[in-house]
Symmetry: C2
Subunit: 221 residues, 2 copies
DNA sequence: GACAATCGATAGTATTACTATTATATTTGT
DNA sequence: ACAAATATAATAGTAATACTATCGATTGTC
């Protein structure tokens, strides 16, 4: 079997959902339900009903809804990191790699057949619609210590390193990619819902162009 | 009396809190409590207790907590627009104006004595910590129609116009300033809570420098 | 055959996010 | 000065949410 494993910090679950059938059903249905209803309207009761189990069944895997969302978003970043590494193999300049990274951030991805219980496209929509909610809480400092945001931070670190290959004296690489990664999400959201906050008429390629233009210009001396 | 009025769309309240003493107390205490507890932990019951009134008293002014937050954040954008207009009077180049705008977005502001019931610094912290929550909901399209996000959109439009004065052929002015305004908030949050997503060691001026550098470079031909 | 792990089922609690009603106090128009 | 309208306080109540706890039944494993 062609296994592919995205490893998530053990702080992000009570019981590893990746190791049991019920766990995988929870992940699968949480993704489709959260995509459909949004984070606020999702409850463990609704998830339980869909997977034909019980509320306490879901609680055995995740302490609460916030931990579940954080797990899913970290899974997404981990998966993106794998995709980037794969794509970078054939690319030789940091400019090409940054461009590819931005495309991966914005363009819809294909379903990965090796991981049938995760719908990557739905997960990407969840990230666009919900990602700041994982850190915009009063518990952010505690959760940061527990590694809740490692996925995000690793992506930014990787891209920062690439940027420094282009311009070793650029003083704001982390700020730049925190901004680019965030804008990649929010521009998708704005293009769809608040079009006056974007110059894209819905086309994802215009967002990619904007982000690459901004990145490469920022790195000029 | 030296009055200063920030007008908020009537869709953002049930009864205008600016017109009564109780309304002003609600605004004042909502700001200090939300600053202290965060949006999630704030309840109308807690606000009511603080202003020595009742839950239903608060409900007479705001339909729910989300509307209250949206009101406060729109108030902030409206107030920022006034500040910008004031500061721009003495500035003659679009570059100087953009620089000043970024400073207003990031640097802590003084308490405006003409509006004693609004603590602008606390409100600014609320915006940093909570602003995406007003649009990251399933009701965004409906609320957009009702003008929930006009404040944000107006700021972006004003800055976009300035950008086009610098470079009339720049193709992404709205995306650029949606990104800059958002980064102004999130970089403040990251510098404090997730420092690996920023290159600022807490100093607000480093964030200002980063944002101005990115803006002006993006507008180069 | 003992055991631990897993799960389903049920029950229960505190809190939240409201809605409704009524009595009282205050302001306003005439 | 008085009636009418408005604003507020006080209380009660409800449905849903976000959990926590307990108890058997099933299942695989040493």
């Amino acid at each position: 079997m062609n296994a592919l494993n995205i490893t998530i910090s053990a702080k992000l679950y009570s019981k590893n959902p990746d190791e049991t059938e019920l766990g995988k059903r929870i992940l699968s249905k949480s993704i489709s339900l959260m995509d459909e209803l949004g984070y606020e309207q999702l409850t463990f009761k609704k998830v339980a009903r869909e997977i034909i189990s019980t509320e306490s069944g879901v609680y055995r895997y995740f302490q609460n809804k916030h931990q579940l969302l954080t797990y899913l978003i970290n899974w997404y970043w981990g998966w993106l990191e794998v995709k980037m590494a794969q794509e970078f193999i054939l690319l030789n300049s940091p400019e090409e790699k940054l461009k590819k990274a931005v495309e991966l951030l914005v363009l819809p991805m294909e379903q990965d057949e090796r991981i049938p219980h995760i719908d990557e496209r739905a997960l990407q929509r969840i990230v666009v619609a919900e990602y700041p909610k994982i850190y915009l809480t009063k518990d952010v400092d505690q959760e940061n210590k527990e590694g809740y945001f490692l996925g995000y931070k690793r992506i930014c670190e990787t891209l920062s390193q690439l940027a420094l290959q282009i311009n070793p004296t650029y003083p704001y690489p982390h700020s730049l990619f925190a901004t680019i990664v965030e804008a990649a999400q929010s521009q998708q959201f704005f293009a769809e819902h608040l079009p006056r906050l974007s110059d894209s008429s819905g086309g994802k390629h215009e967002i990619v162009q904007f982000l690459i233009d901004m990145t490469l210009k920022a790195l000029r001396k």
